[in-house]
Symmetry: C2
Subunit: 192 residues, 2 copies
């Protein structure tokens, strides 16, 4: 009897990953997801974000608890920007979302390509001129003028192979796409 085992590599169950991709290929409707977040204002520039669940693969999902279902993210401005620094700035939360997306992608792609990762760190830096958001100069944009991501990867692979993993993660990143290409955002105030 011959048994084929597909290893869990880098903590990724690659057999299930490939099966999921095949399943979505057969049933494209399953790929429609709607993610949601809920932010409550606390005071001043301090707020708390929570993650009530999402729709996808044809049904509603509640996040795991303990885990994403219990996650609470405080956000605030620092003292130098007249906040109380009870949490990262929203601008940092944006950079962090990019780092998390590219790192998750790297984990999956390395596993799919049979590369064992030993360690990955991802530094994200964003340059911003606050004269935009402070309303001082209409020529200055509100957001980051540039973002730089620097990966440090230790893996059982040569530098060119590692660079190709990072490149593929960038090429398949949801957050990278939105940050570089933009998307439609509608802002509404609910009737009370």
């Amino acid at each position: 009897m011959s048994v084929t085992t597909r290893p869990t590599r880098n903590g990724v169950d690659t057999a299930t990953l490939f099966a999921t991709i095949d399943a979505v290929r057969q049933q494209p409707e399953a790929a429609r997801f709607r993610f949601r977040t809920q932010t409550e204002w606390v005071s001043g520039t301090h707020s708390r974000g929570r993650f009530p669940g999402f729709f996808g693969a044809g049904q509603e999902h509640v996040h795991a608890s303990p885990g994403a279902g219990d996650a609470v993210i405080d956000a605030d401005h620092p003292a130098v920007l007249v906040g109380t620094d009870t949490g990262p700035t929203p601008a940092e939360l944006l950079l962090n979302a990019l780092g998390a997306c590219l790192t998750a992608g790297l984990g999956n792609i390395a596993a799919a390509r049979g590369v064992d990762l030993h360690g990955v760190s991802c530094r994200v830096e964003g340059d911003i001129d606050l004269r935009g958001i402070l309303g001082i100069d209409p020529e200055v944009r509100n957001g980051f003028s540039a973002i730089t991501v620097t990966f440090d990867v230790s893996a059982d692979a040569d530098p060119a192979t590692i660079a190709a993993l990072v490149d593929q993660s960038r090429a398949r990143s949801a957050v990278f796409d939105v940050l570089t290409n933009g998307t439609q955002v509608d802002v509404r105030v609910a009737a009370r």
Copy 2:
């Protein structure tokens, strides 16, 4: 003796806020900020983000501890996407950054306009077709096709005034700008 008190409204020290804007107007170099995040890969699609500090107003800053300096954000994919759901998805972290940015702006702008806020909640929803990131259909983008933000605001103001506060927050949001207009993102792999 006459004493003029400028109230702290909505938890915002408006006198310091206006003084900060005036100071930056006098010294535009102070407006140059560089925010940073550091993400460490844990396993599979699970990572942890931290906030080591930032440069701004001419100097390096370390975040407050307890507060932003201690913040750790776990990110992961959910089970339906072959993750372990130990934290919100990077896509949700992106939506959460937008909710936090618009909510912080609303706090500041309401205070600056003399409007007392009683409560603010901000729901952010993002539609995404995962055939993009799964590499199934090259015609489908990786990121959100659309994002909808819905504010529910209780304040000492009429609906038109509240709507104008939200509109001004949108008009001065760093995260809204990047998500709608995009920006330059460079991804590098550090030499080891």
